[in-house]
Amino acid sequence: MVERVPPHAAQPRSRLRILLASGAAALGLAAASVVPGVPLGAASPQQAQAADSGKSTLTVAVAQSVDSLSPFLAQKLLSTSVSRLMYDFLTNYDVKDNHAIPGLATKWEPSADKLTWTYTIRSDSKWSDGQQATAEDAAWTFNKIMTDEAAAQSNGSFVTNFKKVTAPSPTKLVIELKEPQATMAALDVPIVPKHVWEKVGDFSKFNNDTKFPIVGNGPFILTDYKVDQYVKLKANKDFWRGSPKFDEVVFKTYKDQDAAVAALRKGEVSFVAGSPALTPAQAASLKGEKNVKVNEGPGRRFFALATNPGAQTKDGKKFGNGNKALLDQKVRQALFLSIDRDTLIDKVFQGHAVNGAGYIPPRFPAYKWEPSASQKLGYGPAKAAKLLDQAGYKLKGDQRVGKDGKPLDLRILCHATDPNDKAIGKYLKEWWGKLGIGLKVDCLDDVSVPWYAGEYDLAFDGWSVNPDPDFVLGIHTCAALPVKAKASAATDNFICDKTYDELYKKQLAEYDPAKRADIVKQMQSWLYDSGYMNVIAYPNAVEAYRTDQIKSISTMPEAAGNIYGQDGYWSWWSAVPAGSGDGTDNDSGSGSTGIVIGIVVVVVVLAGGGFLLMRRRRTTADDRE
């Protein structure tokens, strides 16, 4: 046998050596990063920066990406929240009870015919480039949204009833309407500087993220942004309401919620919120943690069950395949009567929610509604069984069977990404099963397609409600139905009722807050009685922050509310930095241990590398011999 000495024997060996060398180099680099001179992970960014420049920084862990920094395009909560900090709105919401208070406009009033609104624009608001913010900026912003389809992507719905917007003087803005509209103090549209934005060509592509700092007049000025990493904002010292207490707010991206909680535990971020809430396990683990405060406030969301009332288009064309049994109000009521809400709140939400009834969460007290004693559908499985008997669904064996002899089997759409949906689905299966009703829980990543195709019987439903309830009420009007079958539409679940629509129009045209609130309550009462919607609970907002970084921060409502995703800029504007010293001892302690470990790692890597090299050299020498 001929010995084959591979012609390129040396090549793989040297390649291997290069690979090993690269590995050792990378390890060395990694180890070197924990030696003195390089910031250790144990020190929070705020503390690290404080040492550098004395700046106080509030770091907020966020899960979302910024879709656009242009307020004309931004859709996501993070982006719209950042817009709130960068630009002033005409009005703001009071931190105590959400009523409209001055923003860029100091006052606003309708004309006698209710069709013209005049806003007085403040004269003490300046853009960060020194120019005065005027009514002309506001008029230009609204006109742009009204006339340029590309600029209407984010806030187009606010101007659909606008006829004309003018600025007769720098402090006077006039909006003429087609129909009376009670939501004129709830125009959540960021007002942008005309002299900057009029230079933009294509609004559909301009993301406002190329030139920093971005000219604004809100409580913070956006100074830096890196995609999927961070958004940095510095305090606007000239803000008319007063400068924020923190010098800088940084929204740092954490795509994994557990990693964000770990970052809070470590002190790398000052604040973490859930999406929409921290899980009960996360909250429980943080509760005993030193220097961490878990804040729990009434949520702005409701958690409900919705039934398919028969999918239809605007012109009345029916589609979908909802179970006809649910068109009977008695069947719907029987289903809701057999839900033990206390068990769900206790076992599924683990106490982080409150019992639901009205469509608007109690966090908005002006519109809070509760059913009367006679109206209330409490927990009553026996009553539910009777109602089903009356509706013609008798118990046969262990199944409810209709007059046509078919068993009553239902499907419920559940969000695969929401553990609450899945857990509640199991309870419903059990409770409704005892009544003889079959239930199939269809968990999907995205339920919108079967939902808009009307191919469901029941669905887990939920919305975040704004201080002004117009939007969530509007999604049940006939006007919200789709033009074509299965197409996207503003509707939530195809409800179209004349009585409800009339009430909706009345509340929109009613300028007296008390009278309007009364109509809104009537609408909630109608929704409750119809049984198409049944609100189970209002999940709490659960979030946490470091008390050694944030001394105090405003919740909304101020008495006991939430911090992240407020209507307004109160939380970050009001946050007060904690005094230095507290909590830093731990960090420096772990820092020095880290340095020791770092040095040990470097020594081990270098010694290992040296040993390998010496061995290799000796081997080569042996080969030569």
Binding site: G41, A42, D67, E149, Y254, D256, N466, I597
Partner: protein, 360 residues
């Protein structure tokens, strides 16, 4: 590879040294020329195959993501105040109201010119978003690739050579265990232990991200390296086993070969027999695996990038899928597939240079 390969290699060596073929028609070429021609034909076939695959990927990506039951417009505007008219306008703007065949032809036409359209959610050209996120992915997965390939090769060689020893059993078991561990779980564990700190172990590394955002110059480089440590360790820990196992089994196949006995009989040191004789032959299957893995470097690691909030392509793909942002996921899918196809093609093209039996 086994000793069977020897005659072929020897024949080639003979042909190379003995000069032109002794007889034949005037047009006959030398064996070397014949080999070169065969190789070029082989390469051309591989490149053609790659081009066909790429076109198939282009077509597949269009239909694949339309099978996802989702409405991009509704997802994007979910929870916001949007009228039916606005929804219709968005559908029109994104071309979603066009018939499927029209969407398809314009997609293929544009893609052939390198234009994958505009991301629905980011209002920016898809290629810009990809180019923006690519360096972060290459840095993370590229570094991990080099490390886990090197570690896998080295340990694979060691374990095979000491087959049956305690270190072999330990290393193989450890590699298999780590290979079975879900990467996101290991990542989270590393965050808890080495980023937050537990017991006497201090929090030494950042919990996530690519940088602190405060550094410049060399301090920035160190800062990025500091952020890379835990995600790289995670990727290496779950990734090196594959290379180790392939290298180990391949080398075990070689170990009984006669040419190694001959080498030993010549008095060569055991270490030299391993490095100069056994390993180069055992490298071939590992070489293929490494090229396959090289293609995956571009695709990133969705779970690890998510756990460590790494701003790379994996995370971007996840965000694209959640809408679904059709132009973005189509563009990314095409880029991922292209990387794998190109890496495989490159492996195919280079393989005959390492193993002359291939491509004849």
């Amino acid at each position: 590879m086994t000793a069977d390969s020897t005659p072929a290699l020897v024949k080639q060596a003979d042909a190379d040294t003995d000069g032109p073929a002794p007889a034949g028609p005037p047009a006959a070429r030398s064996p070397r020329a014949r080999d070169t021609k065969a190789y070029l034909r082989y390469v051309a076939a591989k490149i053609l195959g790659a081009a066909v695959s790429l076109f198939a990927v282009l077509v597949t990506s269009f239909f694949l993501f339309r099978l996802i039951p989702s409405d991009p417009v509704k997802q994007m505007t979910g929870g916001r105040r949007v009228s039916s008219e606005q929804l219709e306008s968005l559908r029109h703007q994104f071309g979603l109201d066009q018939p499927m065949w029209k969407q398809f032809t314009s997609y293929v036409g544009d893609a052939l010119t390198g234009d994958f359209g505009t991301s629905y959610q980011f209002h920016a050209p898809v290629m810009d978003k990809i180019v923006e996120a690519l360096p972060a992915t290459l840095l993370l997965t590229g570094t991990a690739y080099v490390l886990y390939s090197a570690l896998g090769l080295w340990l694979g060689t060691r374990t095979a050579w000491r087959n049956g020893s305690t270190s072999d059993r330990f290393n193989t078991a450890l590699a298999l265990t780590l290979y079975s561990v879900p990467s996101f779980w290991l990542g989270l564990l590393l965050i808890i232990v080495f980023a937050v700190g537990i017991g006497p172990i201090p929090g030494m590394f950042p919990t996530g991200g690519l940088e602190s955002g405060n550094e410049t110059g060399f301090a920035y480089v160190l800062d990025v390296a500091h952020h890379m440590v835990l995600p790289v360790i995670t990727l290496v820990a779950v990734g090196y086993a594959q290379t180790l196992l392939v290298m180990r089994s391949s080398l075990l196949d070689e170990m009984g070969s006669d040419y190694l006995t001959t080498a030993r009989a010549k008095g060569l040191r055991d270490d030299s027999v391993r490095r100069k004789h056994a390993v180069p032959n055992a490298m071939l299957p590992t070489f293929t695996l490494m090229f396959v893995n090289l293609g995956h470097v571009v695709a990133g690691q969705i779970l690890v990038e998510t756990v460590f909030s790494w701003p790379g392509l994996g995370g971007l793909f996840y965000q694209g899928l959640s809408v679904p942002d059709l132009p973005l996921v189509q563009g990314l899918f095409f880029v991922f597939a292209t990387a794998v196809i190109l890496a495989n093609t490159l492996a195919d093209v280079l393989y005959p240079l390492l193993d002359p039996r291939v491509g004849r």
